[in-house]
Amino acid sequence: MKFGVVVFPGSNCDRDVAYVTRDLLYQSTRMVWHEETDISDLDVVVIPGGFSYGDYLRCGAIARFSPVMQQVLEHAREGKFVLGICNGFQVLTEAGLLPGVLMRNRDLHFICDRVPIKVESTNLPWTQAYSPEQIITLPIAHGEGQFYCDQQTLSQLETNGQVLFRYESENPNGSINNIAGICNRQGNVLGMMPHPERASDARLGSTDGLKLFQGLLKRVEALAQL
């Protein structure tokens, strides 16, 4: 399975993601510069956290028009996997691959914390390695993580089981319905504010995030055996 990690000017979690996929999971991984126009070799594209283009105008608003994003749209259209973490989630909503928007946190501060997250649905590759309703702990680090969408979109997300991760017990940023991560209708595009890549190496205290990547690998292995 081949991973690509998109690097925008201002991305800062790119190497953390590559560390997980390459060094912990031994998967072929390459960094994808934002000006690249061919990513057809990749199975999974990860848009990492950071401050792409300095978060100017709105988080993700300028990154969305990078040359590589056209390719990411095509990659998603083909049903291949796209994961957006934190700033990556913001980029995916701006690009229209996921609905809604990430707004300034309710209490206006940047939050850097570890928070309990409930894994909602486990019938997708992203979450299949977790048990249903499992509560995990993941780091969050964001100033604009308040998920918002209109009521109609919200009820579609809920009805279709597109909410994969929800803040448990306390809502840190004011997200509507405590939403921490959603996927698209087809399930191949996931955006989440928590950082699974920062909770993947046991030496750093937690492996709660590693299962997300492992679930993805299981899926691809299953496909390979067909």
């Binding site: 969305r64 809604g100 928007v101 707004m103 309710r106 206006l108 918002y148 209109d150 004011g174």
Partner: protein
């Protein structure tokens, strides 16, 4: 011939969307003794563009706003447009 236009673009939060930053500013103003009922914070963007005529300039601006300058999920926009003279003889 291309003409030059200056646009003032105002991006504001939709009325249905909460503005915690605006609320914080409102409370600050109230602490100063002003009877402020509501504060909503938006963005103001100035840009200069060239286009064949005013209609084309307006169409271009609409697209810029829809595609990048505003996120219409939570924001509204409006703009004013004025034609400015093209300076002859190069830049000063």
């Amino acid at each position: 011939m291309l003409r030059k236009f200056k646009a003032h673009v105002y991006v504001t939060l939709r009325p249905s969307v909460l503005d915690p930053a605006g609320t914080a500013v409102q409370s600050g103003l109230q602490h100063m003794g002003y009877e402020v009922e509501q504060v909503r914070i938006g963005k103001y963007i100035e840009l200069i563009l060239t286009a064949g005529n005013e209609n084309t300039a307006r169409e271009q601006l609409e697209r810029m706003c829809d595609q990048m300058l505003a996120n219409t999920v939570v924001e509204n926009y409006r703009f004013d447009l004025v034609e400015v003279a093209i300076e002859m003889g190069g830049a000063r």
